[in-house]
């Protein structure tokens, strides 16, 4: 059968190319394809009318003057079919030298093709995971089928026959599935997912191939895959009759509307890829426009004007600029959904490999993160998910013995909290064995014997390089690389990891990431000549201190009593060395901020208002300034520093001011 497949692929490719060169009407190409399949089915029978008919049709479908291409295809059709019928190897065994000349000549076309194909493959991947939990859903299968068909068509038209061949084969399987002739069991999904991986690799390596650089030889893999699909199709009739097995891993989504996948694909199809630098420049310029607009709006001449038309137009200008700003800002943000969906795939594969049944639930996939963060968070997240599946979740028998359900729960959650974006990975597995970690750390010489450590400190040791408590090294993890990389990557994003674990009940890893380029709702405060922005989410309340509220220690005001609570005071002017701040506490304002249940009373001169600001990095040259999350361009064009609340808390710990015990 393989020979026949190749023959079909080859002819199909030629047909696509003919239609691409407008030699055949697309409608006719579809008809010819049907004929082609019919002819293929007749291989082995003495009747060669199918092939002849096909050849004739090709001639008819082409313009009267038969170009060389049409001759080629007619010859191909007839000789290939003839050879197959006689059982001899077909003339073209497997599209030997692909003609990449079309793509090599047109880098732009290559880019478009690659971009589209990779997008499609992403869509297919996430849809397939849904297919696994709802194998009979014809609409879903159609949604999977269509992008495959598009990839196949495009690849054929551009002469990338290797991609076309694989896509075509899988398309056949999906076609059977959507017409109800073949059930999509988990084996089928496996094969299709493998095909997605293979195609992704092949497409990603196209530029290298065109440039003549080394690339992965995937011929054997292609053949293997095609064989696997053939085997599935051959055994398909029986599979359709039996009820398909319950899926091993079901990716459940909180907000799972039936129309969601459709909508997403439409979005990706109308997307334009833009250099992030261009985007940054746009955002910067829009920011300046907003400032220019607000300076104009405050202009005394305009304020004093009684011209109604002028003020109407100014209001219009303001509306447009702020709308423009909102849009520009939104462009850099993207939901974490695609990253989470990759994790569903990972969990599914890991679950199969390790024989554990895991149910992954996703929450907050629509939480938007800065593009850069989304890109950077992928690897650490993958490591942590691996780690949870391999070390956290116990094998089913152990779970049963512990009285837990055999189906393990893994949860990914993304949300905003206190000016941070938090991504949580929780499992209901064994939890961390603090005792074991400590012993291992001592054995490896990471901590001295008998060192006093809190359980939290000990748990954090798993992020040390070379640390692994797994007794066996598995294919998935346990080599002691990974978790330290995770921590490094997250720290590079200025984030941090927290661990909560209960022995026997599970572990939650929380990755806290600052909003690097997110818009932050801020409270603008003035201290001396400087102005600072405090993220509004961190602000509990603000108050004018009454004389009786403030308590001094050694002659310095150190504490403020708010209702029943004593809160340590932090003088922002002192902490940041700002001159010209108000000296009398009675004239100042106190802003109570919260970081991880810890309260700090920040002493500032005055509250200036609430404002949405864009966090801009101060630049690499400043490294990490403690207590400062970045800068914001304020309404008058000056820069105000945005306070980093947890950094302030850390600064406070270092100062002489101690919080109340």
């Amino acid at each position: 059968m393989t020979g026949a497949t190749d023959w079909i692929t080859r002819v199909d490719g030629l047909l696509s190319r003919l239609s691409c060169e407008s030699l055949i009407e697309p409608v006719n190409v579809e008809r010819l394809r049907e004929q082609l399949l019919a002819a293929a089915a007749a291989i082995g029978e003495s009747d060669d009318s199918g092939a002849r008919c096909l050849a004739d049709r090709v001639r008819q479908a082409s313009p009267a003057v038969s170009p060389k291409n049409v001759d080629t295809i007619v010859k191909e059709v007839l000789s290939g079919w003839e050879a197959l019928r006689e059982g001899a190897p077909p003339p073209v065994v497997q599209a030997p030298d692909e003609d990449l000349a079309v793509l090599a000549d047109d880098p732009e076309m290559l880019g478009v093709f690659m971009g589209e194909a990779i997008d499609h493959l992403g869509t297919i991947e996430s849809l397939l995971l849904q297919v696994e939990s709802a194998p009979g859903d014809v609409k879903l299968l159609n949604d999977v089928f269509r992008p495959f068909h598009t990839i196949k068509g495009n690849a054929g038209a551009l002469g990338v026959t290797s991609v076309q061949g694989v896509a075509h084969k899988v398309e056949n399987l999906l076609d059977l599935a959507r017409s109800g002739k073949h059930a999509m069991g988990s084996d089928e999904c496996d094969v299709v997912l493998k095909a997605v991986d293979l195609l992704t690799l092949m497409i990603q390596e196209l530029p290298a191939r065109i440039a003549g650089e080394p690339f992965t030889d995937v011929k054997a893999q292609c053949r293997g895959l095609i064989g696997a699909v053939d085997a599935l199709i051959a055994g398909g009739g029986r599979a359709a009759a039996t009820e398909s097995q319950a899926p091993v891993v079901a990716a459940l989504s909180e907000a799972d509307g039936g129309s969601a996948p459709q909508r997403r694909r439409d979005e990706s199809q109308s997307a334009v890829k833009v250099d992030t630098r261009k985007l940054d420049n746009l955002v910067d310029m829009v920011g300046e426009l907003v400032i220019a607009q607000s300076i104009l709006a405050e202009h005394p001449v305009l304020l004093g004007s009684r011209d109604e038309r002028l003020s109407r137009q100014l209001a219009q200008l303001k509306r447009i600029t702020s709308e423009l700003q909102r849009n520009a800002m939104a462009m850099r943000m993207m939901p974490i959904r695609p990253t989470f969906q990759k994790m569903s795939r990972l969990v599914r594969d890991l679950g199969k490999k390790s024989g554990k049944s895991i149910e992954l639930t996703l929450h907050g996939e629509d939480t938007e993160l800065d593009r850069k963060v989304v890109e950077e968070i992928n690897d650490p997240l993958m490591h942590m998910v691996r780690n949870s599946v391999d070390h956290g979740i116990e094998p089913a028998d152990v779970r049963k013995a512990a009285g837990k359900p055999a189906l393990a729960a893994l949860r990914l959650r993304a949300f905003h909290q206190a000016g941070n974006i938090v991504i949580e990975i929780s499992d209901d597995g064994a939890g961390l064995d603090t005792e074991k970690i400590y012993r291992k750390a001592v054995a490896k010489g990471l901590v001295p014997e008998g060192a006093p450590m809190t359980p939290e400190d000990i748990n954090l040791l798993i992020f040390q390089p070379g640390f692994s408590t797994a007794d066996t090294v598995t294919e998935i993890s346990g080599r002691g690389v990974g978790m330290d990389v995770v921590r490094r990557n997250i720290e590079a994003l200025r984030g941090r990891i927290e661990i909560q674990t209960v022995r026997g009940q599970g572990t939650t890893f929380a990755i806290r990431l600052p909003l690097t380029l997110a818009i932050v709702d801020g409270i603008l405060v003035g201290v001396g000549d400087e102005r600072f922005v405090i993220p509004a989410v961190a602000v509990n309340e603000s108050l004018r201190p009454a004389p009786g509220q403030v308590h001094s220690v050694q002659g310095r005001p150190c504490m403020i009593q708010v209702r029943e609570q004593l809160i340590p005071l932090m003088h922002l002017a002192e902490a940041f060395g700002v001159t010209g701040a108000r000296q009398e506490l009675g004239d100042s304002t106190v802003v109570v901020i919260e970081d991880n249940d810890r309260l700090i009373a920040l002493v500032v001169d005055e509250l200036l208002g609430k404002q949405e600001v864009v966090i801009k990095s101060l630049g690499d040259v400043f490294g990490h300034v403690r207590g400062v999350a970045g800068g914001a361009i304020l309404a008058d064009g000056r820069i105000g520093l945005i306070l980093d609340v947890s950094g302030l808390a850390a600064l406070m710990g270092k100062s002489t001011l101690k919080p109340a015990a």
Binding site: A575, K616, D620, V621, V625, V628, G631, I633, R638, I639
Partner: protein
């Protein structure tokens, strides 16, 4: 730059160094001293604007400014060179330059007393920076240019500022 490594040797390497240094320089003053910057390093010259202080940085880092929507750090060259600081006058300028720091090339603002002119300096006018002894660091000098009876110190800004990879001491 490589030619400068032959500082102690006389003759050919020095001449080569001077030839490589010939070109256009933007000259500016700090007190009574005159300095020159390779003009290709200069992006623009702006008037002094409000500078936002940043905590925990060395004294010579004045803070950050908003350059048309971009946040860029500002260095006071007087303080960097150990000269007494001075109130801004109407001649005080910020020269925006590209500086190659360890990690990447960054845009920086440099506060100077006044900007003079763009000067073409010929190879014959350039002398190597002599050794002044321990009190003066000559590392960041490209050379000395004797033009119209004055001496201008040609600066290698990458050396002046690139040495501190980050401004914040941890």
């Amino acid at each position: 730059m490589e030619a400068m490594s032959g500082r102690h040797g006389a003759g050919t390497p020095a001449q080569q160094g001077a030839a490589a240094l010939a070109g256009k320089y933007l000259t500016f003053t700090l007190g009574t001293e005159e300095y020159g910057l390779p003009v290709l390093k200069v992006r623009e010259i702006i008037k002094v604007m409000d500078i936002t202080q940043v905590p925990q940085v060395p004294e010579h880092v004045r803070g950050v400014i908003n350059l048309r929507g971009k946040v860029i750090p500002v260095i006071d060259l007087r303080l960097k060179f150990g000269l007494p600081s001075q109130e801004a006058t109407n001649r005080t300028c910020i020269i925006v330059v590209d500086v190659a720091m360890v990690a990447a090339t960054v845009m920086l603002g440099v506060v100077v007393d006044s900007v003079s002119e763009v000067l073409s300096v010929a190879a014959s006018e350039i002398d190597q920076a002599p050794e002044f002894g321990g009190r003066v660091v000559t590392d960041y000098m490209l050379g000395l240019a004797k033009v119209k009876g004055t001496v201008k110190i040609l600066l290698n800004l990458d050396r002046v500022l690139g040495a501190d990879r980050e401004f914040v001491a941890h």
